[in-house]
């Protein structure tokens, strides 16, 4: 679109932001299998200073878990908690709930919350939640998912991972993994579960919560640093693999975006999550890119790189799609785009 009022301060991607979420409301998605201890973790967080001013959305997605007993009395309602927090229970539509939170805040009927925690159903696939923020332009402009956190029960976690594909997917797509109820399991069990989780998701840091208590910063801090760690292609089970595409030389934006468009057109449903920093030619800061299956989040240019490394690094979590063809595709598109005339 022709910009009538161009600014030399702006980048091709708009204003350069200090961080990926810009000025949007940060969102933490807390996922985890049935009985993993999500509610306990969220409750403990709300009692900490960092938890003040949090809006909690308990998203049931039609699935009835045991958490339902806790929320039954106030279902489909927004309720006010202590500590300036609000809690909204929705069994219908996450988008409606999020929009209502913003609307009520603007009207002054809700406290000016500064963070949202979405507590998912134990059977929920986190991918549709991530998609919500890229499919809905209004929500994507107001909210940003800073971290996806998967809670895994130390006692029953391995069984759940063995038996339920949902539990595996939650662990695979998480930015950060939290082992709960470690005080109820033996150290050998916890160590074995840790190794299993590392195998499933080598990118994610693993924290141990004792009695539901976790350093509140681990619930709110964006996981960018952890996610950018380089990993070799890893097999997670269920045909899911993860790998990093990296390139030292700056990339032309058309090259990168066209390669991604091609991938999405051919294998969008198998791109479970793609996220990383791209060194775009002509940009001062790194450009954060994120894709969930067929959907691309708007790219965001940051003011500065997180460190001295200027390498583009994009983590792919895919299903039945290996690293090599993706690299080959990028190389082919790059060669074509570079061809003069």
């Amino acid at each position: 679109m022709l910009d009538l009022f161009p600014s030399r301060e702006a980048s091709p991607f708009g204003r350069r932001w200090k961080r990926e979420r810009g000025a949007r409301i940060p969102v933490t998605v807390v996922t985890g299998f049935l009985g993993a201890g999500k509610t306990t973790l969220v409750r403990r967080f709300l009692g900490t200073p960092e938890g003040a001013g949090t809006a909690v959305i308990v998203n049931e997605f039609g699935a009835v878990g045991i958490d339902d007993a806790l929320v039954r009395d106030s279902a489909e309602a927004t309720v006010l908690l202590g500590n300036g927090c609000v809690c909204c229970i929705t069994r219908t539509d996450l988008q409606v709930a999020l929009r209502r939170l913003v609307f009520d805040r603007e009207r002054g009927t809700l406290p000016p919350f500064g963070r949202v925690i979405i507590e998912t159903s134990g059977l929920a696939d986190p991918a549709p939640i991530l998609q919500t923020f890229s499919t809905d332009r209004a929500l994507g402009g107001e909210f940003h998912v800073d971290v996806v956190l998967a809670v895994v029960d130390a006692v029953n976690g391995e069984t759940a991972l063995d038996s339920a594909a949902e539990a595996r997917k939650q662990a695979i797509l998480a930015d950060r993994l939290v082992i709960s109820k470690s005080d109820l399991a033996g150290s050998t069990t916890v160590e074995r579960l840790t190794r299993r989780l590392q195998q499933l998701n080598p990118r994610a840091a693993i924290d141990i919560a004792v009695g539901g208590a976790l350093d509140p910063r681990r619930i709110v801090e964006p996981a960018t640093g952890e996610r950018s760690a380089f990993v070799a292609e890893a097999e997670h089970g269920d045909g899911v693999v993860s790998f990093v595409v990296a390139q030292e030389a700056p990339l032309e934006w058309p090259t990168f975006s066209r390669a991604m468009e091609t991938l999405i057109a051919l294998r969008g449903s198998d791109l479970l999550r793609v996220k990383g920093l791209v060194n775009v030619a002509g940009c001062r800061g790194p450009v954060v890119v994120q894709y969930v299956q067929h959907l691309a989040h708007p790219p965001v240019e940051l003011q500065t790189w997180p460190d001295a490394d200027r390498t583009s690094r994009v983590v792919f979590i895919t299903r039945n799609m290996a690293e090599r063809p993706v690299r080959d595709l990028f190389a082919a598109v790059q060669a074509l785009v570079k061809s003069p005339d």
């Binding site: 009538l4 000025a23 909690v56 106030s74 908690l81 229970i89 002054g108 406290p111 000016p112």
Partner: protein, 413 residues
């Protein structure tokens, strides 16, 4: 999740900090009723000093060492000669500071502006004074001093007899190249506001605040232009290529139907935009809405309003004190000031400090709010944020009008 006790913060007015980090708060030795003058000097010894104007007597100005923004330290605080005056505005340029003096009644002194050598911040030395007193003058309300050569100000004058007593201050340009002998080089007033003008005086507004000058901004990108806010007269672009004879280029006003008191005009040259602010002057939001307006200024003779910066529901803010726009960060053309044509920071009295992203000029979006709890002893029971300045490091300084003094913040977006 279960419901627990309803929060007292569920409805109505409440403090909030959103995308700002508070680094420090200084009540300024108990004299924290602050005006609309904020200017940063790098002293000869390397210290970073912010000079602050007070809203009213007894204090004249305060200097705060903000070299470490987390540990501000008052290094100088001076007194006015008497209580029937105020020094609401100031600017520094290098080691010279200009301070506006406005008296509460006409024909009092000192009314005008004073120049100080501030090379030793603990001991500012007067080096010049420009007298603007007179039987119809209250002196200088606001001044602009960025090039070290000229002071542009909203001032009365001994020889100026307004058609209405509220219209006493007009645009004056004063040569201060010899600080000990400031000389007026030019002036302009809205036609009809001076006795003897050959046009009728302007019709008064229902809330009559006067047809007189307020901010008088001049930028090096267009040294031939003065961007002049004229309270109930709206705003003017003046051609000052001949300083002795300023000429009107264009005018824009929102009033009526709005309620006047246009305060500041900030051009965003690269983008062909202009920011224009109102000032809220009535308690309990009686003059709502007072806004920051975004104008398409690509054609300076045909200014077109295209957006305003959105404010929350005013009924929440009508309980105590003023609510609405006032000062904004003005991209002062000095190396110690932050410059942006993407972000607007403004003060809104009990609405606190608010930041807007105007990268889409048609849809300004709020990206930050700082509404601290009422400072101890606040007469309205709320903050009344009055002015804001951002230094070249991006550190934000904002002040309370009544008692709260100085708040130092970091933009977190």
């Amino acid at each position: 999740m279960t419901a627990t006790d309803p929060s007292p913060l569920t409805k109505g007015y409440q403090p909030v900090t959103w995308n700002f980090k508070l680094l420090a708060h200084d009540m300024l030795s108990g004299f924290g009723g602050m005006g609309e003058g904020m200017s940063v000097q790098i002293a000869p010894d390397g210290r970073r000093i912010i000079w602050l104007a007070h809203e009213s007597a007894p204090k004249n100005f305060t200097a705060v060492d903000v070299s470490d923004p987390r540990k501000p330290k008052v290094v100088c605080q001076t007194d006015l000669p008497h209580a029937n005056m105020r020094s609401n505005s100031l600017e520094t340029c290098g080691n010279i500071m200009a301070v506006a003096y406005q008296t509460s009644k006409k024909d009092l002194q000192p009314a005008g502006f004073e120049l100080f050598d501030i090379s030793k911040p603990e001991n500012p030395k007067s080096i010049g004074f420009f007298d603007c007193s007179g039987p119809h003058s209250r002196g200088v309300h606001q001044l602009w001093f960025c090039d070290g050569e000229y002071v542009h100000c909203a001032s009365g004058s001994r020889d100026f007899v307004p058609t209405n007593a509220l219209d006493d201050q007009f645009y004056r340009c004063v040569d201060v190249r010899n600080p000990s002998k400031p000389v007026e080089v030019g002036r302009w007033w809205m036609p009809g506001t001076r006795q003897g003008d050959n046009v009728m005086p302007p019709p008064r507004h229902p809330i009559d605040k006067g047809f007189r000058a307020h901010n008088t901004n001049v930028y090096p990108q267009r040294p031939d232009r003065c961007y002049l806010a004229y309270i109930d007269g709206g705003m003017f672009v003046l051609d000052i290529s001949d300083k002795a004879s300023p000429k009107k280029v264009s005018q824009w006003t929102n009033s009526p139907p709005y309620t006047g008191f246009m305060h500041t005009v900030v051009p965003l040259f690269d983008r062909g935009l202009m920011l224009v602010t109102d000032e809220s002057t009535e308690n309990n939001a009686k003059d709502w809405p007072k806004l920051i307006w975004v104008l398409d200024a690509r054609e300076e003779t045909n200014l077109v309003p295209i957006a305003t910066c959105p404010l929350p529901d005013h009924t929440i803010y009508a309980a105590a004190g003023r609510f609405g726009a006032h000062n904004i960060h003005e991209n002062v053309p000095l190396p110690t000031a932050w410059h942006s044509d993407q972000i607007v920071l403004g003060t809104f009295f009990n609405g606190g400090l608010r930041a807007y992203d105007i990268s889409n000029a048609y849809q300004p979006k709020e990206v930050g709010v700082f509404m601290p709890p009422a400072p101890p002893g606040a007469p309205t029971g709320t903050i009344q944020m009055n002015d804001v300045f951002v230094d070249e490091r991006g550190i934000v300084y904002t002040m309370d009008r009544h008692i709260g003094g100085l708040y130092i913040l970091e933009m977190d977006f």
